[in-house]
C-alpha cells in the first residue's frame, strides 16, 4: 500500500489527526532541508510536504514566494529534490513525502517522476490545475505515487464529487479565498464545506492555508482528518537561515501536535 495512504489510515484507525508540515526544498540550502525533515519527524510531523520551487508561484503569499526565490537562487531542481528524498530515505522509510508544486516543473521532468520507485516520494500535489484534471493526461502516472486534489470554498457542489473521485491521496481543503499565508479563517464555513466533502468521499480530508496558531489547529482538527501548516514554518526557517538553529520550529511543531491530539 502507498506509504501516505497507510499512514493516514493508521492515524484514523487510532482516532488521531494528521499533522502535515511544509517547507521549500533548498531554502536556505539542501543540507538544512534534510536536517529540517528529520526535525519535523522527531517533533511529531506525520507527513512532510516539500514545495518544489517555481519562478511564478501564483498560489503563494509573500512568505512562501520569497522562499521559492531563495531556493531558485540555489538552482534547486526537481532532480535535486528527488535525490534529497533518496538521502532522507536512507534513515527514514516510514514518513510519507508529498511534493507540492506547479504543473510546468512536473511536466518538464516526467521521466524522473515516472522513474520514482517505492522508496521515494509518495504523492504529488499540483497547485495550478483544476481538481478534476487527470494528471495521467500529462504523463504523470506512477503506481508508487498518488495524487492530491484541492477543493476550495468556491468549489461548487457538482464538482466536489468529480474532484473527490480524481484524488487518491487525500483531499486538500483550502481554508480560505486567498493565497498561502493569508489570515481570517471562517471556521463555520470550513466546517460546512468539509462536511459537504465527506458526503462524497471516504478519503481523508485535510485542512490547509491560513493555519498559524495552536487554537486554529485545535479547532480545525475537530472536523477534519488533519491539518497542514506552511507559511509560519517557512517564516521561522527564514529567521534562522544564518544561525541554522531550528529548535524553535521543533517546539512549534510539538505544540501543534499536542493541540490536535
Amino acid at each position: 500500500m502507498n506509504r501516505l495512504t497507510s499512514t493516514l489510515s493508521n492515524l484514523k484507525a487510532n482516532n488521531q489527526k494528521a499533522l502535515v508540515a511544509y517547507l521549500v526544498a533548498g531554502d536556505p540550502d539542501m543540507d538544512s532541508t534534510l536536517d529540517l525533515m528529520h526535525l519535523f519527524v522527531e517533533s511529531g510531523v506525520d507527513v512532510i510536504e516539500i514545495g518544489v520551487p517555481f519562478t511564478d508561484p501564483i498560489a503563494e503569499g509573500p512568505t512562501i514566494q520569497r522562499a521559492h526565490d531563495r531556493a531558485l537562487k540555489n538552482n534547486i531542481s526537481l532532480k535535486m529534490i528527488l535525490s534529497l528524498v533518496d538521502e532522507f530515505r536512507k534513515s527514514n522509510k516510514e514518513t510519507p513525502i508529498v511534493l507540492m508544486g506547479y504543473l510546468n516543473t512536473f511536466i518538464s521532468h516526467i521521466d524522473l517522476v515516472q522513474a520514482t520507485g517505492k522508496d521515494g516520494i509518495d504523492s504529488i500535489l499540483v497547485v495550478d490545475i483544476p481538481g478534476e484534471l487527470n494528471l495521467e493526461t500529462y504523463g504523470i502516472s506512477n503506481p508508487n505515487i498518488n495524487t492530491i486534489s484541492l477543493i476550495s470554498p468556491t468549489t461548487k457542489e457538482n464538482r466536489v464529487e468529480l474532484i473527490a473521485n480524481n484524488s487518491t491521496g487525500f483531499i486538500y481543503y483550502v481554508n480560505l479565498r486567498g493565497v498561502t499565508g493569508s489570515s481570517n479563517l471562517n471556521i463555520s464555513e470550513i466546517e460546512n464545506n468539509i462536511g459537504r466533502i465527506k458526503k462524497y468521499t471516504d478519503l481523508p480530508t485535510l485542512a490547509g492555508f491560513g493555519i498559524k496558531t495552536t487554537e486554529d489547529a485545535k479547532t480545525l482538527a475537530k472536523f477534519s482528518d488533519g491539518i497542514i501548516i506552511g507559511s509560519s514554518i517557512v517564516e521561522m526557517i527564514n529567521e534562522a537561515s544564518t544561525t541554522k538553529e531550528f529548535d524553535r520550529i521543533g517546539k512549534y511543531i510539538k505544540d501543534m501536535k499536542i493541540a490536535i491530539s
Binding site: 498560489a59 503569499g61 504543473l103 521532468h109 495550478d128 481538481g131 468556491t154 474532484i163 479565498r177 493565497v179
Partner: protein, 401 residues
C-alpha cells in the same frame, strides 16, 4: 459577435494542444461564471449594440486604414497601409478589449476591477473604463515598468485607480500578472479581472480576441473600399498577442493574406536575451494556459529582455501557438535596435509616432518588402501611439529634459 466559421477554442478552451484552464481550484468558479455570462451575452442583441455604440462614441471607431505614402515611396515594392489603432481613445488597441470586458463586469454585478499592465496602455484603458462606470480599480505593474512607463503610471492615477508596483521576480509584466491572479484569488466574490491580452486561462484568450477582432473586421471592409481586394500581408507586433489576434482572426480563412506576427528580439534571438517565445521557446504552462514559453530545461520561466515594456513577456496567447504550428501565421523577431530605428523613421516619414511595441511591426517592413512586388498591399497594425515611450527613447538617445 464574430462571423468567423473558424470554431476555436473547443469546449475545454483548447486551440489544438494549446490553451486550457490551468489555475488554482479557487478560480475555477470565477472562470465558469465568466464563461456562462459571455456565452449568453455574446449573441445578445442589446449587448452587441451597447458594445458597438461604445466603440463608436467613446473609442472613436472605426479607425482609419491610412495610406502611408512616404513609407511606400521608400520601399517601392507595394502599398503600405496603416490600421490606425493609435487614434483610439487612450492611444492603443487595448481599449477595444476593456470597453467589452467592463460591460461583462457590469452584467455580473462586480464592484471591483483589477488588471495587470506592462507598457501601461492596458492599465490606462482599464482605469478609463472603470472611471467611466465609477468602479474601484487596481492596476498591477512591475516596478521596472513603473519606472520606464512613468507617464502612463501618472495617467492611471489621474483616472482614480490604484497602482501597485510589483517587485517580485523580474519586476515586469509576468510578475504583474502573478500578482493580479493572487489578488483575484483573494477577492474572488466581488472582483472582475480584466486580462489585457489573449493570454491567461480559458475563456480569456477567446474573449479578448473577440473584442479586438473588430479591428480585422474593419480592415476587411476598408480593404475592399480602398484597394478592392484583400491585403497580401498583415503585420502586427506580438507581446501577449491581442492586437495581432484581433487583426488576424477575421483573416484566418482568407488564404491569400499572409499573417505575420513580430516578436521582440531584444538583443537578438541568438543571444537568448529577448522576448520571442514563438521564435525561441518550447510549449509549457504559465498563467493558466499551455503555450510556447521561454523556459529552461527545469521548467523555470526565463527572464525576458525588450526595450518595449508591452512585449516584455515570456509567454504568448495560445491561439498564436496554434496558428504557428498549423502554419497559418508566420512569426518573426525584430531586435531592439531595429525597432528603435523604425520608431524614428516612421515618425519622420509619416508624422506618426508609433509605440515602441508597434515599431517592431514597422521594422519588419525592411525584409518583408524585398519579397513583394509593387502591386501588393501590406497592412501594418499600428497598435498604439508612442507618446508613452518618449522618456525611454530620450534616455537611449542620451537626452535629458
Amino acid at each position: 459577435m464574430t462571423s468567423n466559421k473558424f470554431n476555436y477554442p473547443d469546449k475545454e478552451g483548447f486551440f489544438g494542444e494549446f490553451g486550457g484552464k490551468f489555475v488554482p481550484e479557487t478560480l475555477m468558479y470565477a472562470l465558469e461564471e465568466l464563461e456562462n455570462t459571455y456565452s449568453k451575452l455574446k449573441d445578445d442583441k442589446d449587448f452587441i449594440k451597447e458594445f458597438y455604440s461604445d466603440l463608436s462614441a467613446f473609442v472613436g471607431r472605426p479607425s482609419p486604414l491610412y495610406f502611408a505614402q512616404r513609407l511606400t515611396d521608400k520601399y517601392k515594392s507595394g502599398n503600405i497601409w496603416l490600421k490606425r489603432e493609435d487614434l483610439n481613445h487612450t492611444g492603443a488597441h487595448k481599449i477595444n478589449n476593456t470597453v467589452g470586458q467592463i460591460l461583462l463586469a457590469k452584467h455580473m454585478g462586480k464592484k471591483r476591477i483589477i488588471a495587470e499592465t506592462g507598457a501601461g496602455q492596458h492599465g490606462v484603458a482599464t482605469a478609463t473604463v472603470a472611471a467611466r462606470l465609477g468602479l474601484e480599480c487596481h492596476i498591477y505593474m512591475g516596478s521596472e515598468d513603473v519606472r520606464r512607463q512613468s507617464l502612463n503610471v501618472y495617467r492611471i492615477k489621474l483616472l482614480g485607480a490604484h497602482v501597485h508596483a510589483v517587485d517580485s521576480g523580474s519586476a515586469t509584466l509576468k510578475d504583474a500578472l502573478n500578482e493580479a491572479m493572487r489578488d483575484w484569488v483573494s477577492n474572488i466574490d466581488d472582483t472582475y479581472y480584466i486580462i489585457g491580452s489573449v493570454t491567461g486561462p480559458h475563456p480569456y484568450p477567446m474573449i479578448v480576441r473577440d473584442f479586438n477582432s473588430v479591428v480585422g473586421q474593419e480592415v476587411i471592409k476598408q480593404s475592399k473600399d480602398l484597394f478592392n481586394k484583400m491585403p497580401d500581408a498583415i503585420v502586427a507586433c506580438v507581446g501577449g498577442g491581442s492586437n495581432a489576434m484581433g487583426i488576424f482572426y477575421p483573416f484566418i480563412e482568407v488564404q491569400e493574406t499572409r499573417l505575420i506576427g513580430v516578436e521582440a528580439g531584444g538583443k537578438g534571438v541568438s543571444t537568448g536575451e529577448h522576448a520571442a517565445p514563438l521564435n525561441d521557446g518550447t510549449p509549457g504552462v504559465l498563467h493558466g494556459a499551455r503555450s510556447y514559453l521561454m523556459q529552461d530545461e527545469a521548467g523555470q520561466v526565463k527572464d525576458t529582455k525588450s526595450v518595449s515594456a508591452g512585449l516584455d513577456y515570456p509567454g504568448v496567447g495560445p491561439e498564436h501557438s496554434w496558428l504557428k504550428d498549423i502554419g497559418r501565421a508566420e512569426y518573426v523577431a525584430v531586435s531592439d535596435d531595429d525597432a528603435l530605428k523604425a520608431f524614428h523613421e516612421v515618425t519622420e516619414l509619416e508624422g506618426i509616432m508609433p509605440a515602441l511595441e508597434t515599431a517592431h511591426a514597422f521594422a519588419y517592413l525592411e525584409p518583408l518588402m524585398k519579397e513583394l512586388d509593387s502591386s501588393s498591399n501590406v497592412v501594418i497594425n499600428v497598435s498604439g501611439r508612442g507618446d508613452k515611450d518618449i522618456n525611454t527613447v530620450a534616455e537611449i538617445d542620451g537626452i535629458e529634459f
